[in-house]
Subunit: 209 residues, 3 copies
Amino acid sequence: MLPLVDSVFYWSDLFGTAVFAFSGILVAGRLRMDGFGVIVLAAVTAIGGGTIRDLIIGAEQVFWVADTLYLWVILGTAMLGLYIVRLPRRLPWYMLPLADAFGLAVFTVIGADKALSHGTSGMVAVVMGVITGVAGGMIRDVLAREVPMVLQREIYATACILGGILYTGTLALGLPTLLATALGMLGTFILRVAAIRWHLSLPVFSLTR
Amino acid sequence: MLPLVDSVFYWSDLFGTAVFAFSGILVAGRLRMDGFGVIVLAAVTAIGGGTIRDLIIGAEQVFWVADTLYLWVILGTAMLGLYIVRLPRRLPWYMLPLADAFGLAVFTVIGADKALSHGTSGMVAVVMGVITGVAGGMIRDVLAREVPMVLQREIYATACILGGILYTGTLALGLPTLLATALGMLGTFILRVAAIRWHLSLPVFSLTR
Amino acid sequence: MLPLVDSVFYWSDLFGTAVFAFSGILVAGRLRMDGFGVIVLAAVTAIGGGTIRDLIIGAEQVFWVADTLYLWVILGTAMLGLYIVRLPRRLPWYMLPLADAFGLAVFTVIGADKALSHGTSGMVAVVMGVITGVAGGMIRDVLAREVPMVLQREIYATACILGGILYTGTLALGLPTLLATALGMLGTFILRVAAIRWHLSLPVFSLTR
């Protein structure tokens, strides 16, 4: 990509990291965790998915080992978050879901992009986009002793799948990376926001009658 | 191994993948998961153990990243499974446990074999056979918020341990790979089927009175 | 380090492995697990953290794959533990917490040291010390279907953080490894023992009123 685009992407990634970390903090707050627990839930939510992705595709180095700024963003978010979270609500309710959908879009495209750059097939790239987007939240929910939200409710991972397919497919057609990135992110973001707005969800599969 | 044996082994592995994926689908059905949840539980059950094995022994590439067919088998099983599972029961009850025991036997020998080919000791190879056979099911149970079945009930992992020891031990005696494979698979399969048939289980260790 | 120090360190590490394995056995006993479950809980507690560390820093080989003695220590502890645990209490109550604090101190310094020797930043080294010290116990608690103890109660991980900072900081000042090791271990050990003795804990963060 162009240097400017790369740079915008990097900062978007850090922003997504902060948003995901914040969602870990909210779960920690419901569970009466101490300061260490807050940081752990923030960290696994924010970098858990990317870590699993980097291990599976065999990246030379896990991204946050190579670039410590991610850890500082999480630490900063955890400290700031402890205060923000108690403020009388000033932000409109839709700010957090919108920020989260944006983070999801960034993580999805980064995950698929990194997989492709390690020579994986398109299908594996889509899977890596999904893992980057949702695996951290799944570990957070397991640590909080909940069935991962993403397996049961709402269109969340499905938005990653759509975004990953759009990104990978656009590249496979030989179209420019910038277009693929835009389509991948927009696809993820719009489907996720639409799911929140109109309460879309996949049909539930149940074997109990 | 001989090419034919290799080929039989590869298809057995894909068959085991489908059977393990199906067991993930059954758990997803009990938990009212959506379509994505079904696929995730199917996937972690089928390839979770092999993924952990490949990461720990330092395989050049995780097996399903190198060969996307595993993912397609899981996807196909998940789609087909949603229908099969609702059919009026036509298959005799013992079909699924038998298929599962067969999958367990294949996974155990593949896990031990892959470890040895990466230069591990025999003991580590046995551990990798066990991880390949049971770790996926353990992650499935954790995501479903259950204490992993394999830690509490029945002879399941124990069958992997026996099969792994038979496979590794036979090779250590300098006997042919084909014989080691046969003994390893038969040991796992027979002990597992015997455990189901006669309700064998290990004594439970309890500290509460 | 000097050969003698290296050797003392290695045996301390094996001792810590046995103590951590024993704590896994105690949890298994509360959950009515069978013999295999006991060994799995012992193993994940003892080597789970170090395994995750080695994967993330990209060690050439996971430590217990390279040196099988760790697995034998766990197996021996599990077998011995099943008997010891039922003996009428002969040991004073504080023996196990003291041994555990010692194991925690060893694991913390080993984790930070191994990370630094793989070229990570000081912050990542501290994180790796914490992961080595507490991640195994977290997996144990998740398998036992409990919210990880370390996220909610007492100063445990905080002792690792202090020890890791002391170790990494001392080295960063150019002081000898032996001094850094002593400070790192003492810092972890003393804070942990003080936390037990005076029931110190971090303030809990709660969002429910």
